[in-house]
């Protein structure tokens, strides 16, 4: 019996050991997956003349497309005269004008790409030719971006890889390389402050500081391969992809028609473009930070509407603040604030909705929501005051206890007097 057990144990240990050994060999094999037999890499590595941005994690290298794929040549020969000869198809560094087509050889062929990703898009090159970058390149401007400008040359990684130049969080920095370079961009006559403005904007803060990849980077408004400044007509739709209600309300408003007629830039007119800031109630009305007064003058009906909307928002904000303050008081007094907190929450929701409804530029619609919010505030205040009254009601109980205690005290006092007189 014992013997059997020891044999079993021995076998168990041996199998454990072999699994570990096997695992380590597999691992080391994987490490050496690229480049072992590729004489281009072997030689360039030895001579320390690999491209500066060379990365072993490059997606093409990982899937077997090595130097030869773009540069041509014979990767099996270790004789540089043979391997880098024109007979072997070596082309050296491709011309900028050729690059898109070269990538397109594979990337525009769905039958080829399908084997890597069945639903991959293959219209990148086509889009590129329609972009400002592609069009300028066609005109002979070699300063514009080609595929490698954004995707890198020898360190191409998929967009979902956090190390990639086109990972959501890295995109602003990628575009910035050229677009924030004053000298480089001088001849195009477009601003170079977009990145600095974007970093300070709500979107920039959300993306870069809070790392919220749902927030838009450059490409979310300008497009990727077909990069273009959005046209006037499309601005609303671009913002509307996320800010659905705002866009919907705006597009149905009187304002939208006027905007179209005067070729105004929809959302951008009030909110700006790269420097979109967190909104405030003062953006509407007649204060210094109001955007209404940019176009409307005192005496106009629209001017008054702005003031009326501002006032009804302000009224709800004041009411809401008073409810929130009372909620804190109730909470700190240790009273029951549960029901009240729900009412306060409802009021907050009405305020949020009223603020969105500002985009209808219709005072009546905003008022419906702010009135609703005010009823929630009234309800909350009532609940809170009931709690505070309960707090005061306790005093009645205290009165009863004190009444009896006073009787006991007085009686006790006379009792003591009695006893002491007897003594």
């Amino acid at each position: 019996m014992d013997k059997k057990l020891s044999i079993k144990l021995f076998v168990f240990f041996c199998s454990c050991l072999s699994i570990i050994l096997f695992a380590t060999t597999v691992q080391s094999q994987e490490k050496a997956k690229y480049g072992e037999d590729d004489q281009c890499i072997v030689c360039h590595k030895d001579e320390e003349i690999l491209p500066e941005d060379f990365s072993e994690f490059d997606i093409h290298l990982q899937t077997g497309l090595s130097c030869k794929g773009c540069h041509g040549g014979d990767e099996t020969s270790d004789d540089e005269d043979l391997s880098m000869s024109s007979e072997a198809g070596f082309i050296g560094v491709p011309e900028k004008i050729e690059i898109a087509a070269m990538c397109g050889k594979c990337h525009s062929d769905i039958n080829f790409m399908r084997q890597y990703q069945p639903r991959i898009a293959t219209d990148q090159v086509q889009q590129y030719h329609e972009s400002v970058h592609g069009k300028k390149l066609a005109q002979g401007d070699t300063k514009v971006a080609d595929c490698t400008s954004c995707h890198s040359v020898h360190n191409i990684l998929p967009a979902i890889d956090a190390r990639s130049t086109i990972y959501a969080l890295n995109i602003p920095a990628t575009c910035k390389k050229c677009h924030s370079d004053k000298e480089y961009m001088a001849e195009y006559g477009i601003p170079t402050t977009q990145y600095d403005e974007y970093v300070e904007s709500v979107h920039g803060v959300a993306l870069l500081e809070r790392q919220d990849t749902g927030a838009p980077a450059c490409n979310d408004c300008h497009g990727n391969h077909g990069a273009m400044p959005p046209g006037i007509a499309s601005i609303g739709h671009i913002c509307g992809t996320c800010h659905v209600n705002n866009q919907e309300y705006f597009s149905k408003s009187k304002m939208a028609i006027e905007f179209q007629r005067d070729e105004l830039h929809a959302c951008e007119e009030c909110h700006g473009d790269h420097d979109v800031k967190k909104t405030s109630d003062d953006m509407i009305g007649d204060s210094d930070s109001s955007t209404c007064v940019d176009c409307h003058e005192e005496g106009e009906e629209a001017y008054d509407t702005g003031i009326k909307i501002r006032q009804s928002l302000g009224g709800l904000v004041t009411a809401y603040d008073s409810a929130a303050t009372l909620l804190k008081t109730v909470e700190h007094a240790g009273m029951d604030d549960l029901e009240m907190s729900y009412a306060v929450k409802d009021a907050k929701q009405s305020l949020t909705q009223a603020r969105t409804l500002v985009h209808t530029f219709d005072f009546e619609q905003v008022k419906v929501k702010t009135d609703e919010g005010k009823t929630f505030v009234t309800q909350a205040l009532k609940l809170g005051n009931t709690q505070m009254q309960d707090l005061r009601f306790r005093r009645l109980g205290f009165g009863i206890a004190t009444f009896f205690m006073t009787i006991v005290l007085v009686a006790l006092y006379f009792k003591i007097k009695d006893i002491e007189r007897e003594d």
């Binding site: 800010h243 209600n245 929450k345 929701q349 949020t352 909705q353 969105t356 009695d418």
Partner: protein, 146 residues
């Protein structure tokens, strides 16, 4: 006379003490009686009997301080999700016609698993557990890791 005075004093004293004891013990005894909600931390909420919840319907339940959206799908399955939109804390609702979850504030849309599909919500709605015990629908907090 002296005797009467003493008897009177003793009666008053006795009565006072009894009244006083009453005003002390009344709070003590009512303190000992467990309140309706027996626990400080709400761990679960009873949404009622299965039979009372219609197909393709929803309700908002108060789970302590947080509202929870209980949905019964067309096919009869239950799903409970935090009803607070992950964008700006509005309360979301179930849309019977589209069978999705919608936030009226900024048109955020979630699917029935709580995944944020479109609009501004940055995160999915967190899930609550639904158990059916004796034909009663019980919603509870998900077990925490660690």
């Amino acid at each position: 006379m002296a005797f009467n005075r003493r008897a009177f004093l003793n009666t008053i004293l006795g009565g006072g003490v009894i009244g006083w004891l009453g005003s002390i013990f009344y709070p003590v005894i009512s303190f000992l009686i467990p309140p309706k909600i027996p626990e400080a931390n709400v761990q679960s909420v009873n949404a009622g009997s299965i039979a009372d919840i219609a197909l393709n319907s929803s309700q908002i339940l108060k789970f302590g301080r947080t509202p929870v959206l209980l949905i019964r799908s067309k096919t009869g399955e239950f799903k409970a999700l935090a009803a607070t939109c992950t964008h700006l804390d509005c309360t979301v609702q179930y849309r019977q016609d589209r069978q999705d979850i919608w936030c009226a504030c900024h048109n955020g849309i979630y699917n029935l698993s709580g995944r944020n599909l479109s609009g501004p919500p940055p995160k999915p709605l967190s899930e609550y557990l639904v158990n059916i015990i004796d034909k009663e629908v019980i919603i509870s907090k998900p077990k925490q890791m660690g």
